[in-house]
Structures are given as C-alpha cells and as structure tokens.
Symmetry: C2
Subunit: 378 residues, 2 copies
DNA sequence: TTGAAAGCGATACCAG
DNA sequence: CTGGTATCGCTTTCAA
C-alpha cells in the first residue's frame, strides 16, 4: 500500500544534488544558494518529506535540556507539577531528556533570574509558571528570540510569544463550583461569596464570572456577592471574611477560587459559622485534608497539578521534535471534584512517587531515560 | 558525568566475541551455545546495557500492528475509546503503529471471532474489552502463549494472563456518587436505590459496595436498598423500577452505575417522581444530555472513555517496546463528575475529532504516524 | 557553495 | 554455533 517514506536521499536524487546540501537547505544553515534552497524546500514538500526521527536521534545523539522554572514546593502543588514532568520525561523511551529545575522561593521573586540563567545556559526549552506575567513577558520574548520555546503552566502569559500553555479550564472550574454550591444549598435563600487573588488576574476573573453566571442562571435563589480580593495575603483574607460575615448575615456559602482557603476557614470558625456555611475550595493540600474530612469543606476543585506537568512536558517536547508544526498548543484541563468520598483516591495518587521503578531485566536506573540535573533550586 | 551508554559492541568487545552473537544471545534466538549466552547475559547486566531504541527502530523498520477488539459504537463510549487510542498512536513520533479495529455488534457476540482473527493474523498486541470474561479468558491465554500481549480496557479479565488493564476506579466512583447523593439530599430522610447490570460482575458489585459503605458512614439518615439488577435489559430495568417506587414511597434517590439510565428515568417520569428524586447516573451520551440539562439528572459519573483508550494504548506500547519490564500495569482512573455547570466542557471535548490536523511545513497526513487498517468491523 | 564519506547502534543475512 | 558486514536515514566533518 503505502509508498515508502521519502528520505533525504530521495530529494537529493530527484534534484540531482547531494544529500548534504538537502540537509543544509532544510535546516536553513549557512552555505546554500537561495536558489537551491528554494528548490529543495519545494520538492521536499511535494514529495511529502518527513524526517525519520529515529535516524535523527541516532546520529545526533544530543539530549534535550529543558529548564523548569517554578515556585518552590511550599505547597504540594508545584511538587506535583514537577513530578508530572519527571514522569513524562521518564517515559521518553528513545531520547535523552535532561531536566534542570530552577525554583524560586515566592511569587515573583527570582523568576527573572531563573529565566536569565536558563537562557544564558542555552537550554533547549523552558516550562514556566509566570507568576508575574508583566515582569516575565519580556523574558519570554527574549527566549523566543533565542529560539528557545517556552510553555506556560497553570497560568498563561498571553502575547508573550510563548509557544503553548497548559492550565485548568477556568470556565469549567467556576461553573461546576456554582452548580455544586447550588445543589448543596438546595432551596435555601441567601448570598454566596467568592474569594480570589486579584481581579486583575485573568484566570481568577474568569472563574468568578463563570461561577456568577452559572449560579444566576441555574439557582436564582442565591445571590453572588462581589469578589473578595485577598492579594494572596492571609491576614487580608481573614479580615475581609470577618467583615463579610458581619455585613451579610444571610451568607450561605463561599467559593475560594485559589489555594488560600485556610484563612477563610479560620475566619468562619472564629465567627462560629463553619456549620452553617457551604464552602467549596480549590486544590488539595495537607492542611485542607482535615477540613474536607471533617465536612467543613464540602468539595474542592482539584487542579490536577501532576497532569498539568505531564501535559506541559509533552507539549514542549512535541514542539521541540516537531519544529512547532503542531496544533493549537493550548490545553485546558477539566478539574476534578474532590469530596470526602473520593479524597483518599487522590491522596494516594499524590503520595506514590513518580518514579515507577522499572525492574526489567535489561534495565538500569539512569540511562536512556531522563537524567536529572539540579539547577539553582531544589 | 554519565558514562557513555553501553552498546552491543561494548559487550562484544569485553567478551571478545562478535556483536552478532551478542545480539542473538540477548534475544534468545537459536544458535547460541548456552555457555556464551549466559556470559553475554551476565555482562550485559553488569555493564547496564539497555538497547538504543532509536537504533532499533531505524534498522528493523517494522511497524507494530495492534488490534483493538471492542464493541461497535452504538453508544459514544466505544467511539471515544477508539478515538483515544488513535490519538495516542498518532502521537508516536518515532514509530509506525498500525491499528486494526475489530468491532463486534453486541455484548459477547463476535468477540471470540475477533480474537481468533487477530491471533491468526499475528498482530503484535491486542487491546480488548472483555465483555464476557468467562468466554474470553481462554482466548487471552491463547494470545499470551502466542506471545501477543493483551491489555483490557474498561473491564478487567483477571487470571487470564493479560498484561495489563485500564479502567475507572470503582471505589472512587461509588464513593463520590454516594457523597454527592448525600450532600444533594441534605438532611432529608429516606432510602436510596442502586441499579446495576449484574451483581456477579466484579466492577458493578464494587461500585455498589463503595456507594453503600460511604453512604452508611457519612449519611446515616439515608438507607441503601439492595442492588437492582437489570441484566442490561431495558424492560427489566423499567419494570423493576416501577416496583421499586411502589414498595418504597420514601425513596429519595437513585444511583445508576451503568449506562442504562434511560429506562430508569422513564420509569421515574411515568411514576411522576422525577421532581422528587435525586438521580445520579454514569457516563455521558446524547440521550442523557437533555436529562442533565433539564435537571432530572443531578450529576453523572463520567468514565472518561477517551482517556481510557489513551492509557490502554500507552500501556500496550510500553510493554511492546520494553519487553514487559515495566511497572504494575494496572491503571485505575478517577471518574469525572459532570453536571449542568461543566457538561458543555465535556461535550465539546467529545465532539472535536481526535486528529488534530497538523499543519506543519514538513508534514504529511499518513507517514510516520499511525496508518489505520480496517479489520472485520468499523 | 557543494559533494563525499564517516559514523550513530541495532538488525539481518551470509559465510564460515 | 559464530563472525563479519551491509543497511536503516540522518548529522557532521572534511574536501573540493
């Protein structure tokens, strides 16, 4: 059936030139006349040439070096993202992939340096969490100019030249939270609050909008209050919640769109409202587990950090291998709903280490798989 | 840092023999003295030899042929599973993978023939949905004996020699359904029914048990009734539900653990109970969509067929490449909770075709990716 | 600017 | 039973 795949040799032969020239033309390397280059490109297309990757890896045995610039693992979220990246890198049977982790201690602190160092050391690609999009945008541009593809994870950096991004679907998150809230509250009347980091952050604003829209259309008995911004400060969150409780005695529920649910819970407990409020949070970390177990938190919207990491790696890798020919490079993941009933399932998932120790007879820990290098952090 | 990886040549050199012999020894091919074979194996291990897959694919340019034996696409479930398999096969940048779909019209009808034909045509691996485990077990054994690895999807076939399986975690499914049911019903008293295919099917029994256990421990105000078996017959389901409604006027909710939710809903509507009952279903298919949209179904436990397909393919592929060295080869997926709020997200996912048309400059539809062959069905 | 040739590591076949 | 060698398609280097 299928024709034999076109090779460099085929192209060379039909043009009566040498395979070396074809190669140079295809990779626009110096030293090819524009004429021949054009001809090569054209017949490559005509013949439907696609490089044989096995051959490529065999000859140029270079390893991809990719830098992962993320927040330090204060919460488990980023540890999970990194675990997902390692997992997927380890699954690359053919190639060598070297992972360099550059972690920074807090939001916006050190992420520019991490980028600078990654670019300086000429990594082949970068996976990053752009905590401060404004500050990072020029760095992503710089990387692009240096032909280093950047994939954003968890948060997007639009108009930065990044080649792709992986995140949780904000619309699905906000909407399912609203639907759960409505069903949990049943026919009850009352108002519902939403806390977020900052309205200026697209993702947060989108979650709020989705939540509000869904609640309005499906549960008109409930009223959505204006978003509460906590600027990622515990005290701010606590204080504002306190005020909220005073001003809204009819408050029936709270949806915390960020990881900052602990101060909200504390405020609710201190106000003796924990029993009466239906609380839906985001993500899943040790401090939250007890709250879910006790029933204080009805459900949490789990953002699947490990899967985000896995997808980000795959996306970057495909880009690297493919030369960017690929598709839209935007992945929006559906969040998981975690409650008492299924929480153990997810906790168990988290605890199992990423490395599934291969016991194969011809196997050795760190050979063809990914070797890991330690960067500035971790 | 890292030593250069060991090659066949290295082994040959340290033993003072030829690389051809080493190769034969490693692949236990005829024509190697037991003595040399043992020595080769030993030093291979000592040197930490691992085959270079790129080189392997380059020289032996054979394509994997894998057979996918599944139910015909009466529901969208199996279409999705197959789409997932195609997706993942298409993502194999290096290798050629040929997919042969053998579909059978109904449960247990034609699946033995499909197996026979796949084995007869010497495929390299099989992904199957063992609808009738008893009948299929000997066939899976036969495949194993012919060194054809079999991966089960959606349902397991224990003690059959299958090399792995992918399914939804039954415990997580049943438990989250119970937790949702409990929260939706609030403080209400009453009984809750569960329908399933057959108690004899492990997966179904497990879901029921998990549901019952969780409900008992978290929501003692609700009482779980004995499981209702419908044997996958619409009339049976309808009739038994009718009886259920008569016998249990305090019925507050129903959890349908299988795809057979339509007759249950019909029975509830005919008994004029749709408003009063909280119904949780399984999976997501066209007929169910309207029921969810209208609120008749509060939530559905979505079994992520596409992901199941993707994972099954990856598992089989890893096994094929790896020679079975890999890890546990059991994947239990967390189901998604789908409600009105997030249903559109999933519907949209379903509708987009699996092939994300690559528009890359050096790309052509069917070259290095997977070629598809049509088998007995589809 | 181009051509020729030496690998990369494994497979497969043909002699011995 | 074992050794040698051509081959897969691409990258890279050295000449021309």
């Amino acid at each position: 059936m299928g024709e034999d795949p076109t090779t460099l040799h085929d192209i060379a032969r039909t043009l009566g030139i040498s395979i070396g020239t074809v190669h140079r033309a295809l990779h626009d390397r110096p030293g090819v006349s524009p004429m021949t280059k054009a001809r090569v490109l054209r017949t490559a297309r005509n013949l439907g040439y696609r490089p044989n990757l096995a051959a490529r890896y065999l000859s140029s045995k270079k390893a991809f070096r990719i830098s992962i610039n993320t927040l330090q693992g204060t919460t488990s979220f980023w540890d999970e993202v990194r675990a997902g990246i390692r997992e997927e890198a380890g699954a690359m049977l053919m190639e060598n992939v070297q992972l360099e982790f550059r972690t920074y201690p807090s939001l916006g602190d050190g992420e520019e340096e991490a980028f600078e160092s990654a670019i300086g050391e000429k990594v082949d690609g970068i996976i990053t969490f752009p905590s401060h999009v404004q500050k990072l945008r020029p760095w992503i541009r710089r990387a692009s100019r240096a032909r280093i593809p950047v994939v954003c994870v968890a948060t997007d950096a639009p108009n930065s030249g990044r080649v792709g991004m992986v995140a949780i679907d904000t619309l699905a998150s906000g909407s399912i939270a609203a639907d759960l809230m409505g069903r949990f509250l049943g026919a009850r009347q009352g108002s519902v609050a939403v806390t977020l980091f900052d309205n200026a952050i697209t993702e947060h604003a989108e979650k709020y909008e989705a939540f509000a829209a869904t609640l309005r259309s499906l549960y008109p008995n409930l009223q959505v209050l204006d978003a509460i911004e906590d600027y990622d400060m515990e005290k701010e969150a606590y204080r504002k919640c306190g005020r909220l409780f005073e001003e809204h005695p009819d408050l029936a529920g709270i949806y915390v769109t960020t990881e900052a649910s602990i101060p909200v819970l504390k405020a609710a407990r201190d106000a003796n409202l924990l029993e009466r409020l239906t609380i839906i949070t985001t993500d899943l970390f040790p401090d939250l587990v007890a709250q879910i177990r006790s029933g204080a938190v009805s459900a949490t919207i789990y953002q699947r950090p490990r899967t985000q990491g896995r997808m980000a790696f795959r996306m970057l890798h495909e880009f690297l291998v493919d030369g960017g020919g690929g598709s839209s490079h935007q992945i929006q993941l559906a969040p998981h709903v975690v409650m008492r009933g299924n929480m153990d399932f997810f906790l168990q998932r988290q605890s199992q280490e990423s490395v599934d120790e291969k016991g194969g007879q011809l196997r050795e820990p760190a050979r063809n798989g990914s070797r890991e290098w330690l960067g500035t952090g971790e």
